[in-house]
């Protein structure tokens, strides 16, 4: 059984005067995270990946669809069940500076977390656990304890964010772009923390990001999102080596390489007006897609399962079994 399962999750935001404008930020997303698995949710900005993270973490209520954790509907939890949920599922956000209240010392939230989820620990035990957690993410307690957020670097704060989440001893971490604001040199270290925890303690991670290269580095499976729709999903290696969806292909093309001069391979069209894609009847990627046909604009592409992988594109409409 999947640890986390999203079923037809849709989130509609209303904008404009009197909520006349509708943006389906996330549309009919169905996906799973299994135990001891790192899943990457990849997509450009505006693809709905942060919205998905916030729905899973109970910050936004889905407009439609259900989110199940260990078979229980996340949005039907009440009272102590919510606390149980957060003792199992924790989140890490993109911006380390805004994850800490600027007016408190950084360790305050660590103590609070420990106090709420492991109240039986004594004063000694608490100190020890916090030092342990800080060392585990590669920091020296002496460097960070007693400091205010503005006195620490983004990398230090992001590691502390991870340390806080780990104090809970969760089974699943939702990491929303955990490394995008870090220096390139520290990114791999942070990703290695997750990989290490998966290997040693069976932690599951849903990693959200826009960098398909980093996704490939650490994850077991990749889910590619475009404008709120899942376009492709599968084990990381095959998706990386042989992308099926034109959008995944484009993402891979856009990775700069050291050994090659930059040249555009795919005929790439610039994004038109921001919201038009959300109103399309057909595939939302069609306006930018080099392989777009008439049908792409007219109807949603079916999701096709091809062994372990799935892809939502009209190109493959003649193959595979429909789901």
């Amino acid at each position: 059984m999947a640890l986390l399962r999203l079923e037809d999750v849709t989130k509609v935001f209303r904008t404009g005067l009197f909520g006349g404008q509708e943006i389906r930020a996330v549309e009919d997303v169905t996906m799973e995270v299994k135990e001891g698995e790192i899943v990457s949710l990849v997509g450009e900005s505006g693809s709905g990946k942060t919205t998905i993270a916030r729905m899973i973490l109970r910050f936004y209520r889905p407009t439609k669809g259900r989110i199940y954790y260990k078979g229980r509907d996340v949005w039907r939890l009440r009272g102590d069940e919510v606390k149980w949920y957060y003792s199992e599922v924790q989140g890490i956000f993109q911006d380390p500076y805004s994850s800490f209240n600027p007016i408190h010392r950084v360790e305050r939230i660590l103590y609070k977390t420990l106090h709420h989820f492991h109240p039986s620990l004594g004063g000694r035990g608490v100190e020890e656990r916090i030092r342990e957690a800080i060392e585990r993410v590669g920091l020296h307690p002496g460097d960070v304890l007693g400091k205010y957020p503005h006195q620490l670097s983004g990398g230090q704060l992001q590691r502390l964010s991870i340390a806080r989440a780990l104090l809970v001893e969760p089974s699943l971490i939702i990491a929303d772009e955990p490394v995008s604001m870090l220096d390139a040199s520290t990114r791999i270290d942070v990703l290695n923390i997750f990989a290490d925890l998966r290997d040693k303690e069976g932690l599951s991670v849903l990693m959200i990001g826009h960098d398909i290269l980093l996704a490939n580095y650490v994850s077991d499976r990749v889910v590619v999102l475009y404008k709120g729709n899942i376009v492709e999903e599968g084990p990381a290696k095959p998706v990386f080596v042989n992308p099926l969806h034109p959008y995944t292909g484009m993402l891979l093309e856009s990775i700069p390489r050291l050994d090659k001069k930059w040249e555009k391979r795919l005929e790439e069209k610039a994004e038109e007006e921001e919201y038009t894609a959300y109103r399309l009847k057909g595939c939302r990627f069609a306006p930018r897609c080099p392989a777009a046909r008439k049908i792409c604009f007219e109807a949603k592409p079916p999701t096709l399962k091809l062994e372990e992988r799935s892809v939502a594109c009209w190109i493959y409409s003649d193959y595979g079994e429909k789901s």
Partner: protein, 284 residues
């Protein structure tokens, strides 16, 4: 807020000219109110000798038509005005901040309900409501007046605090606190309120001045405290007995000036602090 940042804020605040001037005047008035009874031998509502005396060394602000010493009336009136400002302002700030926090943080039906209540109170003309309430109470003291004023002047504060809370509650550190198992109350008090401390302080100063002005208005139309003396009551009496027309300027002008001075100093502290907390407003 930690002690270090408080002293730092104070240091910054007192570099601002408006804050300096406003605080100096305010401090002088507070001192006057506190030391008043020592400065004057007369009770404010006791016949002291001759009526309608112009200012003299014995009566620095003269006496009124009933032979009361205007200086001691002004000093005692200032005390009650400051008390009304403090009490009324505190009550209004407290209610406004509380309702703003709860509505903004809880959202949903709680928010809707509280905002309906707030908006209803907002569109009722406050002075008219104050007149009706005050007229119903046969005996009114300064405290009762403060409570009435406090209970009717919180809506703007509630709306403003709600708006700020709405913005703060989506900040990442609030979400982190939610995941850390903090209760809504702990999040409001521990994460949101400390970030709004400067704002709440300024709201209080504004409410302080507003309560004084409201009280003067009520006193002036004869719905002030039924016993005792206040700056508004002095003005009311002065107008009632045609003080200006009869040339008793010392009966009306000094108390009026004290009110103006008090409100101006509060206003200056407020705009000065605004500049301190919001560097974009600084002229340099």
């Amino acid at each position: 807020m930690k002690l270090g940042s408080i002293t730092e804020t104070l240091r910054l605040a007192f570099r601002n000219g408006k804050v300096k001037a406003g605080t100096a005047v305010l401090f002088f008035l507070l001192l006057l109110a506190a030391a008043g009874p020592v400065l004057t031998p007369y009770q404010p509502l006791k016949y002291t000798g001759e009526p309608s005396l112009p200012p003299s060394p014995r009566h620095p602000l003269g006496t009124n038509m009933f032979g009361y010493d205007v200086f001691s009336q002004t000093v005692y009136g200032l005390r009650s005005s400051i008390l009304v400002g403090f009490l009324g302002g505190a009550i209004a700030t407290l209610i406004g901040v509380l309702i703003g926090f709860v509505a903004g943080y809880k959202g949903g039906l709680v928010d809707e309900g509280l905002m309906v209540l707030t908006n209803i109170l907002l569109v009722i003309p406050t002075l008219a409501l104050l007149i009706v309430i005050a007229a119903y109470l046969p005996y009114r003291g300064i405290v009762v007046e403060s409570v009435i004023i406090g209970l009717t002047s919180w809506p703007w504060t509630a709306r403003a605090v709600r708006a700020q809370t709405l913005a703060l509650r989506q900040r990442d550190f609030v979400l982190v606190a939610r995941m850390s198992g903090e209760s809504p109350l702990a999040i409001i008090l521990g994460e949101i309120a400390p970030n709004m401390l400067s704002y709440i302080f300024m709201v209080f100063i504004l409410q302080f001045g507003g309560a004084i002005l409201n009280a003067v208005g009520l006193d002036f139309i004869g719905l002030g405290p039924t016993r005792g003396v206040s700056l508004g009551i002095i003005l009311q009496q002065a107008v009632l007995w045609n003080a200006i027309q009869l040339g008793l300027w010392w009966w009306a002008i000094p108390p009026g000036l004290v009110i103006a001075l008090l409100l101006t100093s509060l206003y200056m502290v407020n705009t000065g602090l605004d500049e301190v907390f919001n560097p974009r407003l600084r002229g340099d």
